[in-house]
C-alpha cells in the first residue's frame, strides 16, 4: 500500500513485536487461535501504519519546534542581539515554552461559548498535524503517497479560517471578533493567488502526486527557474496564509491586543502557537516540493536531509522578511492580494501553458 | 524673513501693548512689556472681547496655558492666561481676579481649541467654573471625586 523504505523498515519491527506477543500467547497461555491472529498480515499492517504515522508526526513536530528556535536565534541576530540562551545554544527554549503551558491554569471566561471555545484550538492543531502526514520528506520517508496529495494539502490549508473565526467569535470579546473577521478576509484573499501558482506547477508536471512533481524536477530543471514569478507569488501568499509579520493583522499586536488569541491561555494557547508553526512547516515544505526540487540534490547526503536543509533556508527567508518589514493594514493587504498578486499568478500560468504547449518542458 | 504658514506680523511686545492699552482703556491695565513679553491685568467682563481682538486683530494664534491660582488669605481666585503670537513672537500674560466663593469666568475655548483641556483641568483642580465650556467634567482626577484637590485648604497627602 505505501511502498517505501520507512514502511518496510517499520514492518520488520512491527512483525517482530507481534511475534513476541504471539509467542507469549501460544506457549504460555496455549491460546493458539489468538496467537495466530496476532501474526496475521492485517494486524501487522495496522501496527506498521500506526508506527509510521507516529514516526512521521514526531519528525514533523520536532522540525516545527526547531523552527521556533531558528526564528528566535536568527531574529535575534538580525536585531544585533543574541537570541535565547536557555539550554545548549538555546535549543531547550521551546521545550520550556511547551512544558510551561502544561502547568498553566485552564481559564474559560464565563461569558464565553464553551463548546466553540474548546473546539477551535483542537480543530486548528488537528488540521496542522494532518498536513504533516501529507508532506513527504524523502523518497522513502512519508506517511501517505496520494495521487491528489497537493490538492488535499490546500484543501486543509483553506480550512483554517473556520477555526480562527470560531475562536474569534467564541471568545466573546470585541478585539477577537475583529481579529477573526480580518483573518478570514485575509486568508480567503490569498487562497486565489496561491492556488493559481500551484495550478501553473500542475500544468507543467501533469499530476498532483508529490512524488511525480519531484521526479519531474529531477529530470528537468527545478521549477523555480521557469516559474520564478509563481514561486514569488507562492512565497508571499504563504506568508499571508501562515499570518506572519507583514500580514499578521489578525494577531496585530498594536491595535487588537492579541487578535483572536486574546482569551486563550495556558495549554490552548500553546496548541494554537504550535499549530501556527506547524502550518509554517507545511507552507515551507510545499514550497520546497513544488519549486526547489524537493529532495533532489547530490547524493553524498540522504535526500531527507536535503529536504530539511532547503526547508530551514526557506523558513530563514520567512524570518528575514519578518525582521525587515512592518505590518500592513487590512485595506492594503486585500488590495495587494487582489490587484497585484493575482495578475502575477495569471502571467505565471500563461508562461507555464506556453512552455507546455511549446514542448520545451 | 518670511516663514511658512504664518502671517507676516513683525510688531514687538511694546507696540502690541500700546495698541491694547489705547483700545481697552477701562478694563485692561498693561503692567509691563518688553520686546517679546506683555503683562496685563484684565477685568472679568472685558476678557472675551480682548481675546477676540487679540486673536483676529493681533495674530495671537495659540493659548500656551490657562492656570488657576488660589489666594486663600486675600479671599480671591486668579486665572492666568498665557497667549502666544507666532507671527509677532510675543507671549502675553493676562491675569484675571475672581471672588473666591463664586469663581466664574467666560470660557475662551470657542476662540482657541487649545484652551479646552486647560480650562477643564483648572475646573477639575480648583473649581473655577468656565461659563460656556463644551464639556466641564473631571479630567485628571478619578470620576466621582467631590473635592477640588489643588485648593489651598485641601491638605496634600490626604488620600482622596
Amino acid at each position: 500500500m505505501i511502498a517505501n523504505g520507512l514502511y518496510d523498515f517499520i514492518y520488520g519491527i512491527a512483525l517482530w513485536i507481534l511475534q513476541v506477543v504471539a509467542w507469549f500467547f501460544n506457549n504460555i497461555l496455549a491460546w493458539f487461535s489468538v496467537g495466530a491472529w496476532f501474526v496475521s498480515p492485517g494486524v501487522v499492517e495496522f501496527l506498521t501504519t500506526l508506527l509510521v504515522a507516529l514516526v512521521v508526526f514526531i519528525v514533523g513536530f520536532l522540525v516545527s519546534i526547531t523552527f521556533i528556535w531558528e526564528e528566535r536565534k536568527i531574529l535575534g541576530r538580525l536585531m544585533d542581539r543574541r537570541g535565547t540562551q536557555v539550554g545548549f545554544l538555546g535549543l531547550f527554549q521551546n521545550f520550556a515554552d511547551g512544558l510551561k503551558t502544561f502547568i498553566k491554569e485552564h481559564i474559560i471566561p464565563d461569558e464565553v461559548d464553551k463548546q466553540l471555545f474548546n473546539l477551535a484550538p483542537v480543530l486548528l492543531i488537528a488540521m496542522s498535524c494532518f498536513m504533516i502526514c501529507l508532506i513527504p520528506i524523502g523518497p522513502d520517508f512519508f506517511m501517505a503517497n496520494l495521487n491528489s496529495g497537493l490538492l488535499l494539502v490546500f484543501a486543509v490549508f483553506s480550512l483554517a479560517p473556520f477555526a480562527i473565526l470560531m475562536a474569534g467569535w467564541a471568545s466573546n470579546n470585541k478585539y477577537t471578533v475583529m481579529g477573526g473577521m480580518r483573518a478570514a478576509a485575509q486568508l480567503i484573499a490569498y487562497e486565489v493567488p496561491i492556488l493559481l501558482s500551484v495550478a501553473a506547477v500542475v500544468v507543467l508536471v501533469g499530476s498532483f502526486n508529490f512524488m511525480e512533481i519531484v521526479s519531474f524536477q529531477q529530470d528537468n530543471t527545478w521549477l523555480i527557474v521557469p516559474l520564478f514569478i509563481g514561486a514569488l507569488v507562492f512565497f508571499i501568499s504563504a506568508i499571508a496564509e501562515v499570518e506572519r509579520i507583514p500580514f499578521d493583522l489578525p494577531e496585530a499586536e498594536a491595535e487588537l491586543v492579541e487578535g483572536w488569541m486574546t482569551e486563550y491561555g495556558g495549554f490552548r494557547w500553546g496548541l494554537i502557537m504550535l499549530s501556527e508553526y506547524v502550518r509554517g512547516f507545511a507552507a515551507c515544505g510545499v514550497l520546497v516540493l513544488l519549486f526547489l526540487g524537493g529532495w533532489a540534490g547530490p547524493d553524498f547526503i540522504w535526500p531527507e536531509v536535503w529536504f530539511l536543509i532547503k526547508m530551514f533556508m526557506v523558513f530563514a527567508l520567512f524570518i528575514w522578511v519578518r525582521g525587515a518589514l512592518m505590518r500592513v493594514t487590512t485595506k492594503q493587504i486585500l488590495g495587494l492580494g487582489w490587484t497585484k498578486l493575482m495578475p502575477l499568478a495569471l502571467i505565471n500560468l500563461g508562461i507555464a501553458i506556453a512552455l507546455k504547449m511549446g514542448g520545451w518542458l | 524673513m518670511e516663514r511658512i504658514g504664518l502671517a507676516p506680523g513683525g510688531k514687538t511686545g511694546d507696540v502690541l501693548a500700546q495698541d491694547i492699552a489705547q483700545r481697552f482703556q477701562q478694563g485692561v491695565t498693561v503692567t509691563k512689556s518688553t520686546h517679546n513679553r506683555l503683562y496685563a491685568k484684565v477685568d472679568k467682563s472685558v476678557l472675551v472681547s480682548l481675546c477676540t481682538y487679540m486673536r483676529d486683530g493681533l495674530d495671537f494664534e495659540h493659548v500656551t496655558s490657562v492656570s488657576g491660582v488660589d489666594w486663600l488669605e486675600e479671599k480671591k481666585m486668579q486665572v492666568v492666561y498665557h497667549i502666544t503670537s507666532y507671527a509677532n513672537k510675543v507671549t502675553a500674560e493676562l491675569v484675571v481676579d475672581l471672588p473666591r466663593d463664586k469663581p466664574e469666568v467666560d470660557s475662551i475655548t470657542f476662540l482657541w481649541g487649545g484652551a479646552n483641556w486647560h480650562e477643564r483641568e483648572t475646573w477639575d483642580m480648583f473649581g473655577i467654573v468656565f461659563v460656556g465650556h463644551p464639556k466641564l467634567v473631571r479630567l485628571l482626577n478619578p470620576d466621582g471625586t467631590e473635592v477640588f484637590p489643588f485648593r489651598k485648604d485641601f491638605v496634600s497627602g490626604r488620600r482622596v
Partner: protein, 187 residues
Amino acid sequence: MDMRLAPHAVAMSSAEFLSWSGGVMDQLMRYTGAKKAVDKLTAPIWSWAIRNATVPLHFGIACCALEMAAASGPRFDAERLGMIYRSSPRQCEVLLVNGWVTAKLRPDLRRLYEQMAEPRWVVAMGECAISGGPWYDSHNTVQGVDTFIPVDVYIPGCPPRPEAMIDGFMKLHKKINKEMKGTFLND
C-alpha cells in the same frame, strides 16, 4: 435498554462517569503514594520549564517602563532568559509593575492581576511601585503595590538599571525554584 435486566447497573451520563472514574483514579494514586512519588520526580522539570519561560506582560506605566524597554534592547538582551513580552494577561506569568499606581489605575491593575492564569508572580519595579517613591505625599498615588496585590520580588531604584531588572528576574527564578509554586506538589 430495560434497566430491570441489570439490577446492579448504575445509570450514569458520560460526564458523570468521567468525573467518577477520575475521582477513583485520584484516590488510588494518593492512597498508594504513587502521586507523591511522580510529583516529586516531575516537579524540577515543571519548575525548570516555567523558570526559563517567564513571560512578563507588555504593560508600561512610567519611567521604569523605559528601563524595561532598554533591558530588552540589544545591550542587556532580556530574551537570553527566555523573556518575551506578550500583551494578553492570559498568556503571561509575571505582572511587572513599573511605575506609580494612581487611584484611577488601581481597579484596572487589580483586574489585570486577576485575569492572569494561575502560576503568576508580581514584580514591583522601582520606588514608586514599592512604596509610592518620590510621590509619598501625593493625594492620588497608591503608596506601594503590595497594598492591593501580593508582590513576590521588589526591584529598588528610581529607575533601576536594566541590569537590576534582569537581576530581579534572576531572584524570581530562585524563588520559583525554591517555592515550586505551579508544580503539582502541593495540591
